[in-house]
Amino acid sequence: MTMPLLIDVALSLLRARGRQTLVAATGVTFSVTMFIALLSFMSGLNQMLDGLVLYRTPHVRLYNELKPASRQPIDRYTRHRRQHNFIRSIKPRRELPRIRNSAAVMAAIRRDPRVRGVAPKVQTQVFYNVGTLTLNGTISGIEVEQEAALFAFADYVVAGHYQGLRTVPNSIVLGKGAADLMLVGVGDVVQLTTSRGEQVQLKVVGLFQSGLLDIDKVQSYTSLATAQKLLGESNTYVTDLQVKLHDLAQAPAVAREYRRLYEVQALDIQTANAEFETGTFIRTLISYAVGITLLTVAGFGIYNILNMMIYEKMDTIAILKAVGFSGRDVRRVFLLVAAAIGVFGGVVGLLCGLSLSAVIGQLPFEATSLPAVHTYPIDYNPAFYLIGGVFSLATSLLAGYFPARKASRIDPVIIIRGK
């Protein structure tokens, strides 16, 4: 076993060139630090943004769109009659979009073991009346408890309390933007015109802020029963069923199944947020690209120091070979030198990366759309540390490989003759 001896020789070479070694190691340290900090931060950000969508978006949304029946009565009549009908401008029947037999569907979905929860919703258009002015608005009737449990509804109610929707009859949680336009606050009464033309007065029990101004200007919430009343519908009337699953990845399959089973439209979160996934992917890609670029630059640093070392230590290499070290031994010595720089720089870099991300994680970060977040989000994912460590070692070995090979091929005779 010559390995301990080779390590010994490698370390003594390192010691002899202490300062340059340190510089090369610092390069690795720097790049690993940045790699870790960047990825932790980016991933934290991604998770936060994902969370933003994932919290508030149902994994599968069931709804019905008003469409003309795909089989018109005339089709039934002319079937088997060797003739064709051409009907243009078919209009759907005038009725409100609804999920038929919603109570039974909901009960069935709830029994599905893949489902974490399901929340019904009634969506309708309204007008907010401000004096003689009317503003466009959307009102969602929700089952308060379910909505809070599944979609963190409470996080977005910035004034008042969402429970008011349950306890106060004819109440509303008004979008912050809309409230500002109407100059109302919690406790005030607002007047709405429903799509049927009726005027209704609702008491404001809370203000809702999603952070997206366009939404906050139009969106309001009320209880399911109030919404049904606004529309003059019975208490079985539901426009949306919002399903949350245990496993997000199953959403497309579940959506497909429900579409067939319940004859409704079913939209899974992946389809609904396709461009969102792309954004996450690109952010991650950029972080990795920057990190790996940094490591590559550090690799050149190691390459340099090793080349220099080999030029300076020609004599040493020649003696080692003359006294019985093989080319392989010499190559190993220099690979060990490279690995030592990589490991040392890498380990310090991982620690610095951890501290730097911890520091970033302490910086204040306030965003209206993220009421629960006060500092920059950091993802302390062990995988980043593993990747950073492996990559720094791999880059070092790669950077050391060519100089080490060169060293192993040095002909001692040429060096000794050259004296």
Binding site: M1, T2, S12, T316, K321, A322, G324, K419
Partner: protein, 232 residues
């Protein structure tokens, strides 16, 4: 003389750069156990070139080289390294010590590479060799803290650490004064006689050569003359 430790058969060497020139022509000779031979000849006649071939460092030659009965041609680089480590001690004109290691570690290095002895045994042995060369007191120093003559003796101690079959030297006393040169000669003599090791030493010093058992005289890449002194 039993089977020779070292045997060269028709060793021929060309250098191709800048023009193809023949530097060694048909060199054949053998060296037995306990034999102390010197190689002499004009500058540029090919002494060093021959020694590099015989020490297995240079493999680009024609002819056959046998060490302890084994043919060296066709061995891999790693196998040759092993042979150098185990069977050959080489002393250069310039001391060639590793400046990163202490004197003691320099001497121990080939032994560590061989890995046959424990570190304690090896250290003990290294001290023995240093004592033999009269520089045991310098063991803990770094090479750059020694005089030229002391360094050369360290290099010799290093060549002896694995008790090689043959010790080769390319003007090992070239940088030493008369007194130190005499000391080195005595050590070589002792090695040949007491330890039955073979010695092949290139020298420019006629007095040194005259005292060896056998003088191999080279000229223009050829062995011109061999003179043996009757063993006294």
């Amino acid at each position: 003389m039993s089977t020779p430790i070292l045997e060269a058969r028709n060793i021929t060497k060309y250098f191709a750069d800048p023009v193809r020139v023949q530097v060694l022509r048909d060199i054949s000779f053998g060296l037995g156990r306990g034999e102390f031979a010197s190689i002499v000849g004009k500058s540029g006649c090919g002494k060093s070139t021959l020694l590099y071939i015989l020490s297995t460092m240079d493999t680009d030659y024609e002819g056959t080289l046998l060490l302890d009965g084994a043919v060296m041609g066709g061995k891999t680089e790693a196998e040759l390294a092993r042979v150098r480590n185990e069977q050959i001690g080489f002393v250069f004109q310039f001391h060639y010590l590793l400046n990163e290691f202490s004197v003691l570690r320099n001497v121990m290095l080939p032994g560590q590479k061989l890995g046959r002895l424990s570190p304690q045994e090896l250290e003990h042995r290294a001290y023995e060799k240093l004592r033999l060369l009269g520089i045991a007191d310098e063991a803990r120093k770094m090479p750059y803290q020694l005089s030229g003559g002391q360094k050369q003796r360290v290099a010799i101690a290093r060549a002896l650490i694995n008790d090689p079959l043959i010790i080769m030297g390319d003007e090992p006393t070239g940088n030493l004064d008369k007194k130190n040169s005499g000391v080195v000669f005595d050590i070589f003599q002792e090695l040949a006689q007491a330890h039955q090791q073979a010695l092949l030493i290139v020298t420019h010093d006629p007095a040194f050569a005259a005292k060896t058992h056998r003088i191999i005289e080279m000229e223009d890449g050829r062995i011109m003359r061999e003179a043996s002194r009757p063993n006294s």
